[in-house]
């Protein structure tokens, strides 16, 4: 396990790289879900304005 973490001494660079990608993916997926929720909410509010 420590071998995985240290990766022959290059652990910092490897995990900073993979970590950045993982973070970017998490942020992207999170923002996608948020965007969809907001779009649905806006449409719902607009629809209810028309037909109260």
């Amino acid at each position: 396990m420590t071998g995985m973490l240290s990766m022959g001494g290059y652990g910092f660079y490897i995990w900073c790289s993979y970590g950045a990608l993982a973070l970017a993916i998490v942020v992207e997926v999170w923002s996608l879900r948020r965007r969809r929720a907001q779009a649905l909410e806006l449409a719902r509010m607009a629809a209810e304005e028309e037909n109260p």
Binding site: M4, M7, G8, G9, Y10, Y13, I14, C16, S17, Y18, A20, L21, A24, I25, E28, V29, L32, R35, R36, A39, L40, E41, L42, A43, R44, A46, A47, E48, E50
Partner: protein, 259 residues
């Protein structure tokens, strides 16, 4: 029986189709990532010169490639939107841009963290990194121009023209940066050159490229669905979808049930 593909150029029809496609691409991306990481970290050997540090290549090259490929695909959608005046093509370009920019940024970041242990500095002005940096600016310019124009169709067309001018320039930029780099550095070795690739290293990298590709497709399809909802918010089918009420017959395009 022939499939009428043109039916899917209407946002209302593409929306449910995209929704059905997302899980397949997302699942494939996850599967390929697991396989690629396994091959890359468990199967592939340690490199003689770079040690374990070379393993960054399994995400550096895929993200760099996707950034470049993504821009070309985006420009393709832009060209389609200008030639055939289709809204959905412009929406696909709009959906692709943030992911392409993300890939470009991560490519630069991983390039920096690969360069530090192998070449001593976080940043080098080598041809590929510098071109990717300019590519990131091109993506950001596209997104900024879109954001600056309020009217959606005008934003579509203006940013489409920008993307097309950009994609024509990308090979010119790459060529000029490469030339500039070799002239000044003298060495023909790129600062982040790949090690002599064992078969397993190459396999892992290729698997990860496909993983990145399928991820990009899944994410872009998800984003375009939100864009469709935003831009078609005035239509009946979106209203029905948003309020959860059954869609009325009037105003529905095509025969696909909205999901």
């Amino acid at each position: 029986m022939t499939i009428s593909w043109f039916k899917y150029s209407a946002p209302a029809n593409f929306y449910p189709l995209a929704g059905r496609m997302i899980p397949w691409f997302a699942g494939a991306a996850v599967l390929l990532t697991v396989i690629g990481m396994y091959i890359g970290f468990v199967v592939a050997p340690t490199d003689a010169t770079q040690g374990e540090a070379y393993r960054i290549i399994f995400i550096h090259v895929p993200t760099a490639w996707m950034a470049m490929f993504g821009y070309c695909v985006m420009a393709g959608w832009c060209a389609a939107s200008l030639i055939w005046n289709t809204r959905l093509s412009a929406m696909m370009a709009q959906a692709l841009a943030p992911t392409g920019a993300m890939f470009a940024f991560v490519s630069l970041w991983t390039g920096a963290f690969w360069g530090r242990p192998t070449w001593g500095t976080y940043w080098v002005w080598d041809a590929r990194l510098t071109s990717t940096l300019i590519l990131l600016f091109l993506y950001l310019g596209y997104m900024a121009l879109r954001a600056a124009i309020d009217e959606p169709r005008r934003a579509d067309r203006a940013s489409a023209l920008l993307a097309i001018v950009g994609v024509i320039n990308v090979p010119i930029i790459y060529f000029s940066v490469k030339w500039w780099n070799t002239l000044h550095q003298g060495a023909t070795i790129s600062a982040t050159a790949a090690p002599k690739m064992a078969h397993t290293m190459l396999a892992a990298m290729l698997v990860m490229i496909f993983a990145a590709w399928f991820y990009a497709i899944a994410v872009t399809l998800h984003r375009v669905r939100s864009i469709i909802l935003e831009r078609e918010a005035h239509t009946d089918w979106v209203r029905a979808l948003a309020t959860g009420a059954p869609a009325g017959q009037a105003g529905r395009v095509g025969t696909e049930a909205s999901r």
